[in-house]
Amino acid sequence: MENLKIGIFLSDCGKVLAETLDFDDLTSFLKEVPGVTFVEIGTEFWKGSGLQEIVKTIKEQKANRIIVAESLPKLSEIKIVEAAEAAGLNQNFVQVIDLKDYCVWPHRNVPFEATEKAKATLLAAIERAKILDPIHKLEFPAVKSVLVIGGGISGIQAAEDLADLGFEVHLVEKAPFLGGIAARAGRFFPTDDCAACIQSPASDVKTITHTSRKCIYRSGIAAIQGLKIYTNSQVVKVDGEPGNYRITLEKKPRYINEAKCISCNLCAEVCPVEVPDEYNVNLVVRKAIYTIIPNIHPPTYVIDEKACKFHECEKCVQVCPTKAIELDEKTETTTLNVGAIIVATGFKEYDPSVIKEYHYGEYPAVVTNLELARMLDAFGPTGGKIIRPSDRKPVRRIVFVQCVGSRDKRWNNYCSSICCMISLKHAIMIKTAFPEVDVSICYIDIRTTGREHEEYYEKARELGVKFVKGRPTEISHDPESDLLIVDVEDSLLRRFLELEADLVVLATAMVPSEDTENLAKILQIDIDEDGFFKEYNAKLRPTETKKRGIFLCGGSTFPKDAPSSSLQAHSAALKAFKFLNTGKIVKDQKTAVVNEEYCGDCEFCPVSCPYNAIELVKVDEKHVVAKVSDLLCEGCGICVGTCPLNAIDLRHFKQSELRAQTKAILSVNKQNKPLILAFCCSECGGASIDSAGMTMTNYPTNVRIIKVPCTGYLRIEHFLEAIKYGAQGVMVVGCMNNGCHHEEGIKKVEKRIEAAKNLLKEYGIEPERIELLNTIFIEGDKFAEVARVMTEKLEKLEPIQFSKES
C-alpha cells in the first residue's frame, strides 16, 4: 500500500471562525497525528482561487487523501470534489466537513470546548481517511426507446411528446380502440370541447399550427414517425433493468386486418348477431363485429369473441370488399426492448351495485355519470336525448347523487375529486338543451377547486339546477307511477324530501383501472392503499416511481381531470427524456457489497431493500447468496443494518470507517460533560443539525456528530461500540417517521434502538442513554433542546465504568 499523505485544508471564513476556534492549537494538534502531511488555512476553499489552491497543493505535496473544512454543505462539496478529481484524486478520498455549523456557530460562547470538538471531528475524518477505498464511476447502456402503457389522454400525450423528441415509442392499449375513459365522456370540463380532441404532433409541420388541436382521427397520430400503436394488447412480462427493459406484449386477435379495412360498415350490416352494447349503457344493441364511435383510432372494426359464430356464419367474410376479415387470427406475442416505461393506465368508474340501497343494476333508471355521458353524446345510443331506460320516453326529472362509493369508508375513503365537476357539467348540458327538465343534485359538499370550476357551479344555479345538501339514504321504485323516489334529508331545511325522478344519476367513485395490481407486480412498483400506483414523492417527484426508468402519469396515480392528466403526461415524458437522452446511465459505485464468505441462505436484505436492488443467487444446489445490483442500489445501507450475519457493507461507508470515526471522535475529551455521540442521517436528520448551526442555536459541545447515509444503516453493535469507546449517551437523529428518504430506514432503526435499550438493561446500564430524534431541517432548535436535556439527564447519572477485561 502506498504511503498515506493526508492533507487538511481549514477554511476560517475570513477569520470569522478564528474568533471562536484557536487555529494555532488546532493546527499543531493535527500536525502531530500520524499520516497528516500538511495543514493549510485559507479563507474560502470552495470557489475561485481556493479551488486552485487545493489543486496546486495536492499536486505539490503529492497528497492522496484530503479533508476540507468548509461551510455550505453539498455546494462546497461538489466543487471541492471536482477540483480534487482534476488533481488526480479519487472522489472518495475527499472529505468535506462543515466545521462552521458543527463546531463554531453553536458553540461561540465556549471557545475552548469548541476547539476540542473541532479536533475530535477532524481526527475522526483523518482516521476514516486512512481506510477509505476508491469509488469508481459506472456506466450502463440505455436504449432510447420508451414503452407507454395506456392509450387514454395522458398516454397519447406522453407518447407524442417523446416521438416528437426523436425517441422510438411503443404505445400499448388494452382496449380495441384508443381514447380511454376520456373518449367515453363526450365533453370535457372546463374547456367544454369534445373528449376526442387531442394535441397535435409537433412533427406534422405541414398541417399543424402552434395552436392546433384535433380530433383523434384527424390528428395524424398514426402517422407520427417513431410512434408505434398496439391496440387490443397487453404487457404480460417485464424483464431487465432500468435503461434496458425487455417487454413481452400479448396482442389479442381483432380478426380484422387493420391495414386492409376501409371502414365501409358492410360487415356490421350483414352480421346477424346482436348483443347489448355495453359501451353505450346497453341502451342499444350492436353487432358481433363493431366499432365504437366514428372518430376513433384505429379506424377499423373488431369482432366480439364471445358473440361471434365465426366459421358457422362467415357472412362478414363473404361481404368484405377488401378481404380484411381474418377469422383464424391468433393471439400474438411480441417482444420489445425499451429504456423506460411510462404507466398511463388511468382509472375507471366504481361499480356502485355493492351499495344495495341505491339499487344500481336492479332499477334500469339508476345510471352512472359515464352512462349518462353516453346518452348526452350525439354519437351515443340516443343521439343526445335523455330517455327513461324502461319506456324510452323523455325524462322530466333527474336527480344526481354525489359521493357514491367515495368519501365512504365502507368502499373508498378518498374524494374522487372530479365527480362534482362531472355532475355540474352534465346538469348544465341537460338544462341548456332541455330547460324544462327538472335537475336536482344531492351533495355532501360541492368541490370545485380548479380554475374556472366555480363558474360551473354558478352557471348551474343560474340555470335553475336545485342543490340539496344531504346524502340520500335510499332510492326506491314506485311500481304504480314507474318513478324512482330518492329519500334524502335536506339538512339545511332540516326536512325530509322524497324526490321523484325518471332517472337517477350516481356520481360514482373513480377507482384504479382493472389489472392495476397485476401490472404493479409485473413492473415491481408500489401501489398505495387505495390501489393506485404510488409516486416517488408527491411534492417533488409526482411522475416518478421508486424504480428508475418507470414513470407515471394521468389517472394511474389518482382520479384527475383532463388538464392535470395532460400536465402529468408532459412531465413524465420529460423525465423519461432526461433519463435516456444521453444513451447511458452514469452513476457512482456507491453501493452495497456482499461478503460471500459469510452470506448465505436467508432473505433479510432482499426483503428490507427499499429499491429491490438485491436478489438471491444460487451458489450450489442448496445454497443461495445475496447479489446487489449496482444499477438499482442507492447506497442507503439499510441492508447493512438488517443483515443478521453482518455479511454486507457499503463501499462508500464501510463499517470499519464508522468504527474508526467513533473511536477517534470520542478520544478527544478535555471537558467534564458526559460525551454524547449523535449518529445522524445524511438527509433530514443531518440537515436539522446543520440548521441548529446555521441559526447559531447553542447546544452543548459534548455532543459529537457522525453522519451515516441513513439511520437504517445502524446496527445495535454500533451503539454499543460508541459506549465502549467512551460515549455516555447515544443519539440517533433521523427523518420523521413518515419522511425517511429511504422509506423504512428510520422505522427499522427505531426497533433496533428498542432492542439496544433492552440489551443495556441486561448489562445494568440505564436504557435512557440511547435516544431517537425524528426531525426535519427547520427543527434545529428541537435538536438543540434534546441535546441539552439529554446532557442534563446524563450529568445526573453515574458515569459508565468498564472493568479492565472488557
Binding site: 368519501r407 355532501i444 344531504g470 339514504t473 334524502v488 334529508e489 339538512s491 325530509f496
Partner: protein, 169 residues
C-alpha cells in the same frame, strides 16, 4: 359569551373517549343517518344528525338537558348506512351513559334500574303475567339469580348511579 365558553369545551373528545362513542368525530353531517331514521320521520323531536352536530359544536348542556338522546330506537339502520362508519346508535349509548352518570336520565330508566337492582328484572312479575303464562301453557318464570346479579351490578358500578327522578327539560 356563554356560547363561546361552552363551544370551547372538547365535548366531542369526551364522547369519543367513552365506549361506543369513539367514532363521533368522523361525522361530516351528510344526513344519511337522519334520512334512514324511522324515529326522525315520525317526530320532529329527534334528528340524529342534529344531535351529532350539537356534540361536535360542544353544546353539552343542550344535548343532556333534553330528552332527545333517549329517543333513538337502536334499529341500527343509520349505523349500517353511514358512509363514515360512525357507530351512530352506539354513540347514543355512550351519550346516555354519560347522562346517566350525571343523574340526567329520564324517570322511566330510574324505575327500570331500581327494579333490576331489587328484583333482578326490569319488568316486575305481576299476578296478571303469571296467569297469562299459565293460560297459554307456558311454565312459570324461574326466580332470578339476584345475589349473583347484585355482585355484577356492584362490580360495574351500576348500583351507584345517581338515578334522578325526573329530567328537567
Amino acid at each position: 359569551m356563554m356560547e363561546t365558553k361552552e363551544a370551547s369545551i372538547p365535548f366531542s373528545k369526551e364522547v369519543a373517549s367513552k365506549y361506543g362513542g369513539e367514532t363521533i368525530t368522523l361525522c361530516y353531517q351528510c344526513g344519511t343517518c337522519s334520512s334512514s331514521c324511522p324515529v326522525a320521520k315520525a317526530t320532529e323531536k329527534f334528528n340524529p344528525r342534529e344531535v351529532f352536530r350539537l356534540v361536535l359544536l360542544g353544546k353539552r348542556q343542550e344535548v343532556f338537558h333534553s330528552n332527545t338522546i333517549w329517543l333513538c330506537s337502536s334499529c341500527y339502520n343509520c349505523q349500517e348506512r353511514c358512509p363514515q362508519t360512525v357507530e351512530v346508535a352506539d354513540v347514543f349509548f355512550a351519550l346516555r351513559n354519560i347522562a346517566a352518570k350525571e343523574g340526567l336520565s329520564p324517570n322511566i330508566y330510574s324505575e327500570f334500574a331500581s327494579a333490576l337492582i331489587n328484583e333482578g328484572r326490569i319488568v316486575p312479575v305481576s299476578k296478571f303475567l303469571e296467569r297469562k303464562r299459565e293460560q297459554i301453557g307456558l311454565p312459570p318464570l324461574k326466580t332470578t339469580g339476584i345475589d349473583a346479579l347484585k355482585k355484577i351490578l356492584a362490580a360495574t358500578g351500576f348500583d351507584k348511579l345517581q338515578l334522578k327522578k325526573e329530567v328537567e327539560s
